[in-house]
Amino acid sequence: MEKKGWDGFEIGAMLRSFDGATRDIATTLPEDRPYSQSNSFTASVADWRIEKPLFNKDYCIDCQFCWVYCPDMSIISRDKKMVGIDFDHCKGCGICVEVCPTNPKSLLMFAEQQDEESAIAEWPKKDTSKAKEEAKDE
């Protein structure tokens, strides 16, 4: 798309979210949508992050708390399953990690440069300190 300055912007100009005909966007998944160049979906805010969330599917219970509370539509859920994270649109706020209810958490924040393999290798184990304390009390 040709970018225009403020004075080259025609009065009454319209930015279209999609190229071509669309019907029932509410039931069309993002991968099937004909996004246009002026839809912010085609842009990225990845450079806002200093930390990124990483996802370990071994511990995930598909509760979808991360999906409903993500402010940036960056948790990808398909067929009621958590699939992954959209790193083009994630701003690294960390809400998904805070609301994750599993033990250990199935989402954790890591430095932006860390690769996924090494992060999963060093994933913390289940925190059993609470369970042990309860056993002692008994």
Partner: protein
């Protein structure tokens, strides 16, 4: 079309395809987009949206991008509501004349505004729309401050909060006025449905939005939107702060039907002291000094009084 979308649980809700896109410029951890997502995903019908000037508007329509996958308009600070009301009037007129191109589709009309656009600047426009009885929904994203322009006080700012135009210091404890009771004002218009919602209680919120869509006439939704920048807390704590606000009854969740019948829709199991809610935010930091500590007790008293009033109204069914 026009049938209510079935959302039994969160897994079912998560199959929704968002019509609000990422790479908008809202702050990381902003509750605005959580609210917008929950409103938009509550229906599969077509949407006709408007936004008043505010964080949501300036961050989602930055040239050359738009973050909306539905018809969306922005005109001015005050008239998000009347823009949508105009579209709704046109829709009705075309329907009566039988000139709708797709008569089987039943679009929903929604206007979004911040608390500045709702409580102060757009107030008479909203009042007009509600008086004329347009079939629309108005969602106020209530973050209790003019966050877009740098944190000036609005008439939604609660007492004791430090803002850039009512700063706390040696001689002042910040904002001196109580928060305006917008819910009561909108209910007094005789609107069929008025409700207060919080994004952290997603099920309560989605149920209320769907009730609002089903109602004939103007619907007012007051949505608490925790502002990480102006309330001064870490971005990952948005949901935790919202939980505190709801469980301490600072933001009680209730609905008023036809301006007459009040229902409390969420009663916290453990009511937490208001002190915990205030202490979690930087904007109330100065209340925890000897000089201003008496305000915390006053806060608690006000919240208790309001909760007592709501309970009595619910019991008396008025």
């Amino acid at each position: 079309m026009s049938e209510i979308k079935k959302i039994k649980n969160l897994k079912e809700f998560s199959t929704s395809a968002d019509r609000f896109e990422g790479a908008n410029l809202l702050c990381p951890g902003c509750a605005h987009s959580i609210i917008v997502r929950e409103v938009l995903n509550a229906t599969n019908d077509d949407l006709i949206l408007a936004a008043s000037t505010g964080c949501l508007e300036v961050c989602t329509a930055v040239y050359p991008y738009t973050s909306w996958d539905a018809s969306w308009i922005h005109i001015g600070f005050e008239n998000g509501s009347s823009a949508v009301a105009g579209a709704e009037a046109m829709y009705k007129a075309l329907k009566n004349k039988g000139r709708l191109k797709q008569p089987d589709r039943t679009p929903k009309f929604v206007a979004f505004g911040g608390d500045g656009a709702t409580y102060d600047i757009g107030f008479q426009w909203i009042s007009g729309c509600f008086e004329r009885g347009h079939n629309m929904m108005y969602v106020c994203l209530d973050n209790e401050v003019y966050a877009n322009t740098g944190g000036q006080r609005s008439s939604s700012t609660p007492i004791g909060s430090s803002t850039t135009t009512a700063p706390a210091g040696r001689v002042s404890y910040g904002e001196k006025m109580m928060k305006k009771d917008m819910m009561a004002i909108m209910a007094a218009h005789g609107a069929p449905y008025v409700a207060q919602v919080a994004p952290n209680k997603w099920k309560d919120m989605v149920a209320k939005i769907q009730k609002g869509f089903a109602a004939e006439g103007p619907v007012y939704i007051n949505a608490m939107s925790a502002c990480t920048t102006e309330w001064k807390f870490a971005p990952e704590d948005t949901i935790a702060i919202s939980d505190l606000a709801v469980d301490s009854l600072v933001f009680p969740l209730y609905e008023i039907i036809n301006g007459e019948k009040l229902n409390i829709t969420y009663r916290p199991k453990n009511i937490i002291p208001v002190r915990d809610y205030l202490g979690a935010q930087g904007r109330f930091k100065h209340l925890f000094t000897k000089q201003y500590e008496y305000l915390i007790d006053e806060w608690q008293k006000n919240v208790d009084k309001k909760w007592d009033y709501l309970q009595r109204r619910e019991e008396a069914s008025v």
